[in-house]
């Protein structure tokens, strides 16, 4: 049972280390102080250092920068062996290493020659080798959050209706600020070191370095926790979203990267091994991405297929969701029959506590008609506005852009007493916002005005004259729709439909 404990029974203490390296002289002072208190350095990891309890001793620690090592170099190379051997011959005992830093110890009474006798050489080497390490995590964390935050601003709607999206949209900006602060502090400090030289061998040097890195570490941890929390909430409450699936490449990439680093450091022998391992890792990531992509696209195809070949059924509304009486309206005409009703997507997030889709299909004679109503019950008016804006942008740039244009319908807006009312010209869609609630209605209900004879799809080959005629027709159509009076609107199916939804 006790065999599970490390090596021996001595007590051990873990100390937060950060990863600041330019102040390694400060580390020497701190480690020496720990030794005189009876805690001897055992190892240093990415974040923690382990100290082992023993007899208090006055030891002299010396941390040296080994030029030919780095993240993707094996931990022990022939060069490093030769170097350590030389140091040991001159009396120093090797303790442990972290990246470029090699840590040696000697008894104070031995008065050994220091490892570095040429201050200028030492300083140049340290400045050349170490600043990147002090900088890299800070810049990585900052760029990651900045990228996500900027991206989420452009695609606001996408980030509103699931928890992970909410985290990125609302929580990450704060983390970006803290990452930026951490980064600025690091940069200023690196500049100071480059100008004024390495900081002194004092405990305070170590402590201030650790404080500086703590801000960046905490930010990185918060970002990770927020992401994990978002994914967990989405898995529970929004099982339809693809978010957990989308994270697979990220997780796989990260794992392979970590395994690669460890493999190189532990198994590699020559400096060149790093490159070979890196190539293998990139190939593996590439293969995994290809496989994931393959399955993802198959899944997507299956979904589409299912939608087209689905068996007809009429579902009950999920709990807490009101059914819009669309079918009552259409069944008013005897030759129409409701065939299918379902609620394919229900979800929620902090910003949008209720989100659901009611999708129906019915027949009239030979014709099949379908309709889908998306409902967003959001937390605030501002959020609903953002989603409307996003839909307007999406329509403009991504879908049906050839034939569709959102048109603001002033008359209808006033008549239905809503805050926003938009319609598209060709592919029929209505976007309505009243306060903090938003509806997107898509389907075949618009015989409110004469429709254009032809609809173009993305990818259609169209000649110039045909296009001109099409636009002319569209414009006419759009004018007619705009000029419809309330009287006329009321007499139409769309009006009935809206009454059902907006009442």
């Amino acid at each position: 049972m006790f065999g599970l404990r490390k090596k021996d029974q001595a007590r051990r203490k873990r100390v937060y280390w950060g990863y600041s390296t330019l102040d390694y002289k400060g580390m020497e002072a701190y480690i020496e102080k720990m030794s005189s208190d009876g805690w001897h350095l055992e190892s240093i990891g990415e974040v923690w250092a382990t100290f082992r309890e023993g007899k208090p001793q006055n030891l002299r620690y010396s941390i040296d920068v080994f030029e030919q090592s780095g993240t993707l170099t094996p931990e022990v190379t022939d060069e490093l062996k030769e170097y350590r051997n030389l140091c040991e011959e001159s009396g120093w005992t090797f303790v442990t290493s972290i990246k470029h830093l090699q840590i040696f110890v000697s008894k104070e009474e031995d008065h050994l020659l220091p490892l570095q006798t040429d201050e200028e050489l030492e300083e140049n080497l340290a400045k050349k080798k170490l600043w990147r390490k002090d900088f890299s995590i800070g810049i990585g964390v900052f760029l990651l959050t900045l990228g996500l935050v900027i991206f989420s601003r452009f695609r606001a709607g996408m980030y509103m209706d699931d928890y992970l999206g909410n985290m990125i949209f609302y929580v990450y900006p704060f983390m970006m600020i803290s990452a930026a602060l951490g980064l600025v502090r690091s940069i200023l400090w690196i500049r100071k070191v480059k100008k004024e030289g390495l900081p002194d061998k004092q405990e305070e040097t170590f402590f201030s370095g650790r404080r500086r890195q703590l801000l960046i570490d905490l930010t990185a941890i918060s970002i990770l926790l927020a992401m994990i929390l978002g994914v967990i909430l989405d898995t529970i409450y929004n099982p339809e979203t693809d978010m957990p699936f989308a994270l697979i490449p990220v997780i796989v990439g990260f794992s392979i990267g970590t395994i690669l680093k460890l493999t190189i450091r532990k198994k590699g022998e020559k400096k060149e091994d790093g490159l070979i391992f890196a190539i293998i890792a990139f190939l593996m990531i590439f293969i995994v991405m290809a496989v994931v992509n393959h399955f993802e696209s198959q899944r997507f195809e299956r979904e589409i297929e299912e939608q087209f070949s689905r068996e007809m059924r009429i579902e009950e509304a999920p709990e807490g969701v009101s059914v819009y009486p669309i079918e009552e309206i259409f069944l008013a005409e005897e030759d129409r029959e409701l065939q299918d009703r379902r609620f394919p997507v229900t979800g929620q997030s902090f910003a949008v506590p209720v989100y659901y889709v009611q999708s129906e299909k019915w027949i009239r004679g030979e014709e099949e008609w379908g309709i889908a109503v998306r409902t967003y019950e959001t937390r605030s008016e501002r959020i609903a506005q953002r989603i409307v804006e996003e839909y307007l942008e999406l329509r403009r740039f991504h879908f049906h852009f050839f034939t569709d244009r959102w048109v603001e319908m002033e008359e209808q807006k006033q008549y239905w007493q809503v805050d926003e009312f938009y319609m598209t010209e060709g592919f029929p869609a209505i976007l309505i916002r009243r306060g903090d609630t938003l509806w997107l209605i898509e389907g075949d209900y618009t015989d409110y005005a004469r429709e254009p004879e032809k609809h173009f799809e993305v990818g259609d080959v169209v000649d110039g004259d045909e296009l001109d005629r099409h636009y002319e027709e569209l414009n006419r159509h759009y004018e007619e729709a705009r000029e419809l009076s309330n009287e006329e609107i009321r007499s139409l199916e769309m009006a009935l439909l809206l009454e059902g939804i907006l009442r």
């Binding site: 030919q68 030389l86 020659l113 490892l115 006798t117």
Partner: protein, 106 residues
């Protein structure tokens, strides 16, 4: 390039390392010989020595002649010898100029 610039004028430790490597020697041996030769006036720590040796090797100023276990034996190359010779001449000129102005007075 940095190394080349640094080697333009040899520092004391560099000069002694090259001087000693006119006969093959290994790292720790060099450290001892320097201390012996200069009676402790010039000392070279293990870290500094290793850095200098690897730079010299990269510049082709010294080369490895044999290797036993982890100890490499280095010796100065033709190029290194030229460099050392040049430095020796330069130092000589410095001494001569010094003697002309300062030495004559005594």
């Amino acid at each position: 390039m940095v190394a080349r610039k640094q080697l333009k004028n040899l520092t004391e430790p560099m000069y002694y390392i090259l001087l000693i490597l006119t006969t093959p020697n290994h790292g720790y041996g060099i450290m001892q010989r320097v201390e012996e030769m200069t009676e402790g006036h010039v000392i070279i720590g293990a870290g500094t020595l290793y850095t200098l040796l690897s730079r010299f090797e990269n510049e082709g100023i010294i080369k490895v002649v044999s290797q036993e276990d982890r100890k490499k034996n280095y010796v100065i190359t033709e190029k290194g010898r030229d460099l050392l010779e040049e430095e020796f001449q330069r130092l000589n000129r410095l001494i001569q100029d010094g003697e002309r102005l300062l030495g004559g007075g005594s």
